[in-house]
Symmetry: C2
Subunit: 329 residues, 2 copies
Amino acid sequence: MSRPTIAGVARAAGVSVASVSRVLNGLPATEEMVERVQRAVQELGYVPDARARSLKVGRTFQLTLAVADVGNPVYVTMMRAVEEVVSAAGYRLVVTTTGPDVVDEVALVRGMARGYADGLVISPLRVDEDLIKSIRECEVPVVVAGNVPAKAGVDTVRANSPKGMLLAVEHLVQKGRRRIAFLNGPADTVPGEARAKGFADALRAHDLQPAATAEAADFTFAAGRAAAPDVLEKPHPDAVICANDLLAVGLMHELAAAGLEVPKDVAVVGMDDSELAEQSFPPLTSVNLGSAERGRRAAELLLARIEDSTRSPKRIVVQPSLSVRGSTP
Amino acid sequence: MSRPTIAGVARAAGVSVASVSRVLNGLPATEEMVERVQRAVQELGYVPDARARSLKVGRTFQLTLAVADVGNPVYVTMMRAVEEVVSAAGYRLVVTTTGPDVVDEVALVRGMARGYADGLVISPLRVDEDLIKSIRECEVPVVVAGNVPAKAGVDTVRANSPKGMLLAVEHLVQKGRRRIAFLNGPADTVPGEARAKGFADALRAHDLQPAATAEAADFTFAAGRAAAPDVLEKPHPDAVICANDLLAVGLMHELAAAGLEVPKDVAVVGMDDSELAEQSFPPLTSVNLGSAERGRRAAELLLARIEDSTRSPKRIVVQPSLSVRGSTP
DNA sequence: GTCTGATCTGTAAACGATTACAAGAACGAT
DNA sequence: ATCGTTCTTGTAATCGTTTACAGATCAGAC
């Protein structure tokens, strides 16, 4: 015995398929009709087929979230926020990992044309013309969680890293640190570039010279450890700002190994304020770039655009704050 | 101008829709036919509609992964593994958060009947008769990543926590610790129960009495901190095994606050061997319960069952290992 | 009793693909 | 030249819904 269809329900209830459909979708019908249909549905254990429904109504009630790596805690935070908003609105969430290559991102955006989802939130590590073009031409609404040029004319929700950098530098300066170093991730990524520039500007604003700057191969713990020596050349800096929390924690491990104490000898500031910042030891002072809020806003923006595709592109900037913890004095 | 359909391509190429479909699906056709169709596809920028295809072929090429909380690092590891296997096989991954309630899990499994995905990997925190019943009756294949009774007759991939506990206890005993305590998560969950029993058995095997046992309200960092005092009653134990890494890290923070040194005064062992174990300070000795492998195997099992729904249910047990790090002497 | 309008229900046409079936073409063997 | 095979292509049915349209029913007003 195979799955009952709407036709089976109609037969069992002695009514037409149209009536069944109407009852199921809450359209007006007599009490008796509702009663009969519901009984038949109950009896047969009928469940409407999402595939058929999607084809007919042209919507799948699915949204896609594309991130570079599901393992990065900042994406996890974002994903959780997106999932919450999206499922509250009755959508399912499809999660896709694009990897670090922009061509894969482009392929993904193009593939949205197949219509397996009603919209896309993408958080690209690297952005080029092709990607922007594919987003603009995409068949379904796309929201970028990250920084793309305003002229691209796409919905975006982004962090304000320069402002975040400023908060970090101000805090360190106020605590008396002057020899401030910067441990970045790959500088050819959107966040890497923004943070490098933000760091330089923030130091300039305080009339300081960078004590050192280094570039880790990746935004990961391991890469942070590996790149730590580059930032610790003698005389060692008295503070290091890291482009994300994973790098900061990696650095702190190397500091401990080198016999340097945090925060006495070297203060450390991370970025993202992920759960890891709270959990690390000492707890990590970190710039909160609002990843949860960015996820939430991005999802809301996407839902809004699905409702009304004519609204003009919106660019939301989420303001940072500083979570001060034990890794700074 | 709206999206081209297969009919549009057929018209543009001057052939029938059947021929277009055949060319697109790689069925035999003359060179000229292939050529014409491909040119038309190119010109129109045709992309087949996943919704229509799903309806006709009865498959969506999507699989669902359901976990209690996307934020837990152990689920992240699992998710990454599942994503890898699944996308290599040409499927997309739908991620759903069920929350801690078993009724939501049941609703989810029942909802699979709508056919929006071709299979489900579910990692339930709590299991009851209803859930098992719904899994057995589910329209699509389901693999449980976790422990359900063998008589349930469903595909499962689970960890061997008792064995993992034994590894942890053996290690501690060998290092000379005798006053071993246990910090569990909620005992009314499947992993909580298994680990409690495993701990008791492992201690008995070594003729030891538990120094203390406590139950955190949740498998989280915050809950670990909150429950730490319960496990540290005087005289404090010389070792604590925690039901997962988050609890262990929470405990370590409280140990530091209480002026106890890890591992000198108290050794700490976590479970899951998540990335957090490596990143914490001191690095956490942790029982590797194979979450990545469990994810991988579960995904493979699901794919296999989709291919052949008649195979008898398989129960895979992934063996644990111990990752020794600085939190034990 | 008839007519108007409102309300409910049923018939049938979509949605956009895949695929069973049949018809036509091409070719070699007789 | 005829027949049978094989290979290619086209026609049309189908998947399970939703929904436009038309037909049926009914109440109320004259």
